[in-house]
Symmetry: C2
């Protein structure tokens, strides 16, 4: 490919207003990219990320193979872009829920709803990673924002009962290792509960999305609600 100078920084460069992009070329480019991503999501939802084929997307769009490389430098770059969009989507729905006054339970249900919309999308960001892969920095930034939204909700929770000695010791550990929380002013108990909430929600959600409850005759929603209850009363 030609020079392309910089990371290509999304077609809607530093231009004018919000959305579409300025020049007709930019608008066209953005639209084609969006269409490519649409087909990619379709493929991922039905056959998994490993089955994503640029060639198949091109064919389905009526153009021939290498044309897609004008829009994405490689298959990996497309997938990275999809991961970015997935993170953004989760952050947005979580932000919207928080903006509507959702508490911890509301946020948890928002996460589950978003995940059930497209299981492979959730698993694309929280499922099996490719060993070598490292997400770009902006993606970890979005992930940090998600954690911040969760932390807000947990910090707003009533102070809860007394804690076990182990919990206290773990909280003091977290008080000294809170870089993951950025500069969030949450108290150590909130840090601990947010972390546990994250891992537990992910635990049952991940097993649900992977179909491990399917043959067990258990309603995942019941299990999810039970974990949520334990999280709030424990």
């Amino acid at each position: 490919m030609a020079k392309m100078t910089e990371p290509e920084q999304e077609p809607e460069q530093r231009s004018g207003p919000g959305a579409g992009g300025r020049t007709p070329r930019e608008r066209y480019r953005a639209q084609v990219r969006a269409e490519i991503k649409g087909h990619a999501w379709e493929q991922i939802a039905t056959a998994g990320a490993s089955a994503l084929s640029l060639n198949a997307i091109a064919k389905r769009m009526g153009m021939s193979g290498p044309a897609l490389y004008r829009y994405f430098a490689s298959r990996d770059e497309l997938i990275t872009e999809l991961i970015r969009d997935a993170y953004r989507g989760l952050a947005d729905t979580l932000g919207a829920a928080a903006g509507s006054g959702a508490d911890v339970a509301g946020l948890a249900q928002a996460i589950r709803g978003w995940a059930l919309e497209d299981p492979q999308r959730y698993l694309l960001i929280y499922g099996t990673p490719v060993p070598g892969y490292h997400a770009p920095d902006d993606i970890t930034g979005i992930a940090r924002g998600i954690m911040a939204t969760l932390l807000d909700a947990y910090a707003a929770l009533p102070a809860g009962e007394e804690r076990t000695p182990f919990e206290r010791s773990f909280e003091s550990y977290l008080a000294e290792h809170r870089q993951w929380a950025g500069d969030h002013p949450a108290e150590p108990p909130a840090l601990r509960r947010a972390l546990a909430g994250w891992t537990r929600i992910h635990g049952v959600l991940s097993l649900e999305l992977s179909g491990h409850f399917a043959g067990m005759g258990i309603d995942p929603a019941q299990l999810f609600a039970a974990e949520l209850d334990a999280l709030l009363t424990g």
Copy 2:
């Protein structure tokens, strides 16, 4: 990833004694199959299951491409076989731990140790699944055995304090939906705690193996221990 054919019933048919296979041919075949699987595990550990290449394995073994199809009908069958072996391995280490008198905490640490030995191996059975895939029946049987071992440990736990109304209601739900536990005679509270233990352990373990704690500055072992403590005291 498509059909996954049938279980293929292992070449060491209904022959004689236990292990190696009787005739020299059978022994040779079993040894080649094992070597193939060894290289496959190596590839999976370093590049993930989606990067597994039969051709590369054949080349590394000094034979040419299609020869491997004498031993595995397809790439999918090889992967299924690896999944089966992974399940068996986990069941074995869990059984060994239980046989050595490990309690719930011991079993949990055994699971984590086994997972950390080869993260991709754990993620092969509990990570992102291929949408169409259904494991053969014998595999779900092994998975049921794993749950049985866990249930044994949870059933041996002291009865614990009183439970919240929600927990009681969830336990009565489980009492009516206990087919996943087979005919295990565990009490409903043990069912509930075993289920929660499974999902929580998987939650922190899966996020650890996927590297989500790496950039957060948190020691996964601490978090794992904290969850384990909450599981036992809660």
